[in-house]
Subunit: 329 residues, 2 copies
């Protein structure tokens, strides 16, 4: 088998340069890289990262834990993380929890036994961070479900602000009785969006009616069912703030079934800004979360944490959200 | 640090049982597992898979290469693969190629250097399988873009049949001039869906008109643009077979802009059956691909390949597709 030294000789560069190319660590021209990669290919060079990770105690891997990779919102964040870490020479283990707390615990054990250098934990409970703390594994959380202590760094969207501007948009478009479709679980982002909703009602002197706050199983099917039920029970409303876009899709479906003109009789705002909202009918007004930036910011902090072995100084980074206005308002 | 032997003693089981629990390999009761897991946790046991993989030459990892994890179709397949391998003690590396052939080559080098036991390669070109063959790494492909040789096992949907039944559905609903929206790239699934389309026209004695076969950049935006352009150029049509659901969404959007009544004036069939089609307006008739089954079948074959070190005997497994009838036809 060919060695790094031989490749360096063939390429006419130092062994350090070949190592840097192998580790993707920069400090060489694109042309040099190309030449070295071709030689590595030609001579079928195989670097054994496994052996190397035992020598250096760095495995150059990180783990991502997500609730559901088939939800475009999470997949977009995960892709941004991969795009950040890959050029830095890291590979990504990805795990779906399917919201099963038992599986979450097992995943941590698995990641740890594989010697990952760090962890990005998306939209989970406190269970995992608490376990990880015991084990001194660098972790950055994206979105918090339960309030984290200062021991963890959280990157998240401004959910309060999102709830506020979604509701304000509906009010400005003339709505007075605004249904809030929220996840029935008592989790931080939902509670903060509700706070934003209440704050907007206060600002515009609209009374809060708890009957309009609907706690649902958080998917399109149950959203449609909830809208149907509100109509059957003759609860009047002229606006819906759906706390994510898939739920908004379900709401549109429920309204359509009842021949209610969306945009005229009832206005709707979603949350997340995933691609589905471009192609719904009517197209969906929503709150944009900076999904790529959530992934990138968390990655940047984690990489520093791993490489400088220093806990991040900030415990919370909040990214702003914006209104994306389309046809439903 | 606590050893397996000590844990076994504390749990009152054999060391072999503890090992089996650590490797997730079965052969113990749920209650025993629970007890052992609790002891492992309590004593903060850390198994070093990295060291172990050097001893056994199995890393208990597999790699998945996908074009785009934010497309629900691919994410659903990837999740099915994880759900198959995880209980077998394997972790998953996931890589997005973003359709960049250069990145594909680098990914292979990376996966190989990490000592993965096998690879599932989804909807890519022949480049990677050819590289892998040289290196004796077990691989199973899901969907082929270029025709594979018998050296590789491919699991795919019956694209010809899908094209046929999509077109037949439109014909049965009275369509005579059916637009085919296909990926402009010369790739196998598109060519086979086109063959199915042609076969259905022949069966019902409808002349083939090449003007109706539209080769587009394969996304919703370009589909909408294409529909707009057909209408402007006064090319008459009464049906659209869109070769995936996202493209179908774009087509619905383009028709709506032109105030064309979908389901009456123009009927539409998609392909894939992702969740978006449930919530479009009108809801989308489509061809269901068995996404979970594609992932499971490929996983089953790969696991056998890895553990029995025997090349799969079948080079091609084709899963049937079905029509999901909704409002657009």
């Amino acid at each position: 088998m060919v060695t790094v030294k031989e490749i360096a000789k063939l390429a006419g560069v130092s062994t350090a340069t070949v190592s840097r190319v192998l580790n993707n660590s920069g400090g060489y021209s694109e042309e040099t890289k190309q030449r070295i990669v071709e030689l590595l290919d030609k001579h079928n060079y195989q670097m054994n990262v496994v052996a190397k990770s035992l020598r250096t105690s760095h495995s150059k891997t990180i783990g991502i834990i997500v609730p559901d990779i088939t939800n475009e919102y999470f997949a977009t964040i995960a892709l941004a993380i991969e795009n950040y870490f890959y050029p830095n020479g890291y590979s990504i283990y990805i795990y779906n929890t399917s919201e099963d707390p038992k599986k979450e615990s097992l995943i941590i054990r698995d990641l740890e036994s594989r010697g990952v250098d760090g962890l990005i934990y998306i939209s989970g409970t406190m269970t995992v961070p608490k376990q990880v703390l015991k084990k001194n594994l660098p972790i950055v959380c994206i979105n918090q479900r339960e309030y984290m202590t200062d021991e963890f760094t959280v990157v998240e969207s401004d959910n309060f602000q999102g709830g506020f501007i979604a509701t304000e948009e509906l009010i400005k478009q003339g709505c007075r009785r605004i249904v809030l479709l929220r996840d029935k679980r008592d989790i931080v982002p939902m509670n903060e969006r509700l706070q934003g909703y209440r704050e907007a009602l206060i600002k515009y002197d609209i009374p809060f009616d708890s009957e309009l706050v609907q706690h649902i199983t958080f998917d399109a099917e149950h959203a449609a069912k909830c809208v149907r039920s509100l109509i059957q029970r003759k609860i009047s409303f002229d606006g819906i703030f759906a706390c994510n876009d898939l739920v908004a899709m379900g709401a549109l479906y429920g309204l359509r079934e009842n021949k209610i003109q969306v945009g005229n009789e009832v206005k709707v705002v979603g949350f997340d800004n995933i691609s589905i909202g471009h192609y719904s009918y009517p197209t969906l007004t929503t709150i944009n979360q900076q999904k790529e930036e959530l992934g990138e910011k968390a990655s940047e902090i984690l990489l520093q944490f791993i490489e400088k072995k220093e806990k991040p100084s900030q415990s919370k980074i909040v990214l702003p959200v914006t209104l994306v206005k389309r046809e439903t308002t």
